[in-house]
Every structure is written in structure tokens, then in C-alpha cells.
């Protein structure tokens, strides 16, 4: 049987403002806590993907340690193509490959028996760690 679990851990990262995390929202649907978030990150796609896998593992362990039940945690990683800038002042043409790409990360966690505020903090922290 599901029992209510009200433990809320404190949130100590930079995006904390009245417990609203930009780009993250959560709501309850019956017993399910639904938390969604997205963020654009500039960086190397492969590194971000690798970090994301590690961060989701950490999130998973945290939910289970809090006696939560994971419905699912899903993330989607989308990336624009490498950006090239072509410019000229009339003398010659410069072609510059821009370093780093904008990577859009979307994450949805649907869990049971987990505190909403704590989960939002965890997901905000996950984004910060990428």
C-alpha cells in the first residue's frame, strides 16, 4: 500500500526562489506526482548525454531511498546541427564553426509517494549538473 511520505529536503541551488524553479512544474494526478522540466544547455552533446544518464541514475536512487515508486522517468535530448557563421567585410569571406551546440533537454518524472517540492529541487539540480 502507498503511504504518504511528506519529507521535503531543502533546496540550496541558485534557482531557488520561493520554490519555483524556472522551466519546471509539478502537479498531482490522483496518487501520481508528475514533474516536468526543460532547459537549453550550450555544450558538447556527447558529454551532456553521458552526464544526463549519470544524473538520472542518481535521481532514481534518491527516489527509491525516499521510499518512492518510480512510474517512469523519461528524458529527451534534442540538438540543433552544428552552427556555422559565414561573414564578410567585402574583402574576404570568413567561415567560422561555432564551438558547442544548443542542446534541449526535456525530462518528465512520474512517481508515487514522493514529495513534490523535493523532486522539483532534484530535477533543477539535475539540470544544473549537466
Amino acid at each position: 500500500m502507498i503511504t504518504k511520505h511528506d519529507h521535503a529536503e531543502s533546496c540550496n541551488h541558485h534557482h531557488h526562489a520561493g520554490h519555483h524553479h524556472h522551466g519546471i512544474e509539478s502537479h498531482m494526478h490522483d496518487d501520481a506526482l508528475v514533474c516536468s522540466g526543460n532547459r537549453d544547455i550550450i555544450g558538447d552533446l556527447e558529454t551532456i548525454k553521458q552526464n544526463l544518464v549519470g544524473e538520472i541514475e542518481i535521481l532514481t536512487r534518491w527516489i527509491e531511498e525516499m521510499s518512492g515508486i518510480i512510474g517512469h522517468v523519461k528524458a529527451l535530448v534534442e540538438c540543433d546541427a552544428p552552427v556555422t557563421m559565414i561573414s564578410t567585410t567585402g574583402v574576404d569571406i570568413t567561415v567560422k564553426e561555432m564551438v558547442g551546440s544548443t542542446v534541449q533537454i526535456s525530462i518528465v518524472a512520474i512517481v508515487f509517494n514522493t514529495n513534490a517540492q523535493s523532486l522539483e529541487c532534484r530535477i533543477a539540480g539535475l539540470f544544473d549538473a549537466l
Binding site: 512544474e25 494526478h29 490522483d30 516536468s36 522540466g37 523519461k74 529527451l76
Partner: protein
């Protein structure tokens, strides 16, 4: 328009099954000697969609219902969406992927009452997590089994044959008439299984017609 409702708990593999099923339906074009149009309604309780993007990348027409559940809080939106698809696209097949916390039987009732069309329900169950989920939320997972005649028992590659028997037995305790078909949706689902699902939906459609 034949309607298939894909239900089952979160993480059971609904989207993986949906992709293979939709691709199979499109492949029937050769058999039917005409285009087979498949539309998908993707319902997610989250504000952000993930599965709809996966399905769109695969080339399918996807209508989104976000931030609620088609069996309860978004019934009006579901009905409007089905009517719009019927009018604007008129596909041969409509597949509705329910949220992992929906009761597919309720969705079927809404469609029957409001649109006048019957639907076939297909449930996907997670063999690996079945017992744990039954222990934690029996009402939900057993309620999802109501009103279906086929349960695709997914992820059987992750359990032993003894565990498989236990899970099958448990499912049949909740729905005695269902046929439980073991699959592993991360691999290719055998064509005869997909055909069985399609045949059942076609039979329902033919009988109603």
C-alpha cells in the same frame, strides 16, 4: 475508422509497442493495395511531451493531449480530437496511447458514448515489475486490465520462466478471459501477434458495421 486504445502502467512499453504496431499497419498497404492512414493520439499527464516527439520522428501523424488524462480530466479534449481527426484526416486507423495511469475501459466508454465508435483495448504489462506494482497499487494496475481481451506481457526477457508463470497467473486472476501474450518489445514483435491484434480490431469494426 478503427480505434485501438493502448493502455498499461507507466513504463510498461506502450510507445515501443505502438511504434511497431503502427509500422505494421502501414505495411499492410501492399496487402490492401491502397494507402493505410494511421493517426495517433498521444496522451501524457505531464506538461511536456516526450513520446509524441519519438512518434513524430518516426513519421506518424500525432495529436497531443497533455497535462491530463483522457479517461477523466481530458475527456472533452479527447472527443474533440477524435472528431477533428475523423473530419480532417479520416484515417483507417486511430491509435490512442493512454497515459500510464489511465483506465482504458473508461476511455472506451467515453468514445462510445460521445463519438459512437467502439474501440479495441490492448494492454501492455511490465512483467519485471508486475508483482511490485500490484503490491503498491493493485486497484490501478488491475483496473487497467478490465475490458481487454489481449494483454501483451512485455519485458519477459528480464524474468525467469517460473516468474513468467506467476505473473500470467496473477493477470488472469484479474481478467479470466484475457489472452496473455509474452513479448519483448525492445526486439521485433512477431508478425502473428501484431496480426492477431489487428484482426481483433477489424472484427469489432466489421461486427459493428
Amino acid at each position: 475508422m478503427k480505434i485501438l486504445i493502448l493502455g498499461g502502467f507507466l513504463g510498461s512499453g506502450k510507445t515501443s509497442v505502438l511504434l511497431q504496431l503502427a509500422e505494421y499497419l502501414v505495411s499492410l498497404e501492399k496487402e490492401y493495395h491502397s494507402e493505410v492512414k494511421v493517426a495517433i493520439v498521444e496522451n501524457e499527464i505531464g506538461a511536456i511531451g516526450i513520446d509524441d516527439k519519438v512518434l513524430k520522428k518516426a513519421g506518424f501523424i500525432v495529436n497531443n493531449l497533455f497535462s491530463g488524462c483522457a479517461c477523466c480530466s481530458l475527456t472533452g479534449e479527447l472527443v474533440a480530437s477524435i472528431k477533428k481527426i475523423q473530419t480532417e484526416l479520416d484515417p483507417q486507423w486511430l491509435i490512442i496511447e493512454a497515459t500510464g495511469v489511465a483506465y482504458p475501459g473508461s476511455i472506451r466508454t467515453v468514445i462510445l458514448d460521445e463519438v459512437g465508435l467502439d474501440a479495441t483495448i490492448l494492454i501492455i504489462a511490465d512483467a519485471k515489475r508486475w508483482q511490485r506494482l500490484v503490491n503498491a497499487m493493485e486497484l490501478l494496475v488491475s483496473g487497467q486490465l478490465e475490458d481487454t481481451s489481449i494483454v501483451l506481457l512485455n519485458k519477459v526477457d528480464l524474468i525467469s520462466s517460473a516468474e513468467l508463470k506467476q505473473v500470467e497467473h496473477s493477470i488472469l486472476n484479474y481478467n479470466q478471459t484475457a489472452e496473455v501474450i509474452p513479448i519483448s518489445a525492445k526486439a521485433v514483435i512477431p508478425e502473428d501477434i501484431l496480426k492477431k491484434i489487428v484482426n481483433q480490431a477489424e472484427d469489432l469494426y466489421d461486427n459493428k458495421a
